[in-house]
Amino acid sequence: MNLYREQILDHYKHPRNFGKLTGAHVSSEEVNMSCGDKIRIEIILSGNRIEDIRFTGEGCAINQAAASMLTEKVKGKSVAEIMKLDLQYVEGLLGTTLTPSRVKCAMLPLEAIQKAIWTQTTQK
């Protein structure tokens, strides 16, 4: 298993959609206490779809690459579609299967995204 492939390292070193988003409709923050991963997601919704999304935070390469890749993929997707995404999907993006200790790192960004939009949709 080669976790540190070019693509993951590229997303880690040059994260896409990194930074603050002005005028965000929803946001959420997730922390992984045991390893110190931290992520904040900000989203602009257009109706039921994600129009724009950005993230800030710090974490390991897996965590940051997963956030970078996910933010690229979820743009334009509907809330219902995003709520269906799971570990298998994230592993697909990363192009690898993960050991149990790394699943948390990889899933933190998706959990943050889902929490943000879920809060929004349940509030409606």
Binding site: Y4, K13, M33, S34, C35, E58, C60, I62
Partner: protein, 408 residues
Amino acid sequence: MFDSKKIRSDFPQLDRKIHGKRIVYLDSTATSLKPQSVIDRENEYYTKYTANIYRGIYTTSEEATAEYERTRQLAARFIGASLAEEIVFTRNTTESINLVMYGLSRTNLANQEFVATIMEHHSNFVPWQQITTGFGLPFRIWNINASGQLNLNELEKLITRKTKLLAVTAVSNVLGTINPIKEIVRAVKHLNSRCLVLVDAAQAVPHMPVSVREWGADFVAFSSHKMLGPTGVGVLWGRRELLEEMKPFNYGGEMIAEVHVDHTVFKPSPHKFEAGTPHIAGVIGFGAALEYLERLGMEQVRAHERELISYAIKTLDRVGGLTYLGPKGSRMRGAVFACTLQGVHSHDIAQILNEDNVFIRAGNHCAQPLHEYLGIASTARASCYIYTTKEDIDALVEGLLKVKKIFA
């Protein structure tokens, strides 16, 4: 003579190959490997004289009781305690500390204060934070200086006539700092003779000579599993009069002298704190661990680790961008190195080292307040013990250079 090659042959796990390569175990601060003699001793109880202790009027039960109590004697001697009765067996350091915390919570704590250092492991931090929160009492923190050490002059501001207890670690599991416990206790008692001092010695007793009498503290807690012994066994040493007056933590069998419908008379300490069937096999196995370390000599153990520390400090220097926490010399630190590497998260360091069977720990090592105080999210920690060699440190450095290359 400290023969690490001979020592390594006592540890069966060091023979294991993963993907055809040897194991470089650098996480002894989390738990130590076990020598064959400990495994055999524990196994012997299960194969030759399994029986409950104290109650059987038959040979095997008496054998088990004798072995269990012999470990208590060994533990007392190992830490320079005056009496075996001052040794309470618990599950681990955490339970030892909680035993004291619950005991104190049954006394009148009105207007009392508690102090803990910022470098405490969660196990010696959260109990005191919780008891003070629960009773609405002040909880003061003793911070560290830039080199990761405690300044004794600060005690004047922290210890008042109301301070009930100071919680302090003997050796930090992150910084490696060795705290001058004897001097700390003396300073505390000078400011408030009734203030209790509880020492978390989980990282001290396995690595250096410790004498609780010399320290002069009131409670000392440590674990078997960090010093070659089985998991699930901890020790609380307490001054006899304090243990006698403290209320039990658990109630039930084995800890009682008489039980009537309307009242119970407890056994004296330590038995009143050991309710229920204890980890008999574990305690007996712990006896073999104490004997193993006694044979080596704790002065020699410390000398071996100091040599490793000096070597590690020198070789880690080769890795540009690497910083390790804590004191810089070998005199006032233990053989544990919590490192940060510029631009790389500790998880990634640990994962890449794992590819070459170099096992280290990543995260905040149950010391989140310390990491927050230092403004560091996490560190990659390598730690040594009696079986660690310079080749292990070389493998660590090689691994770190590989990490740098991948993330360059």
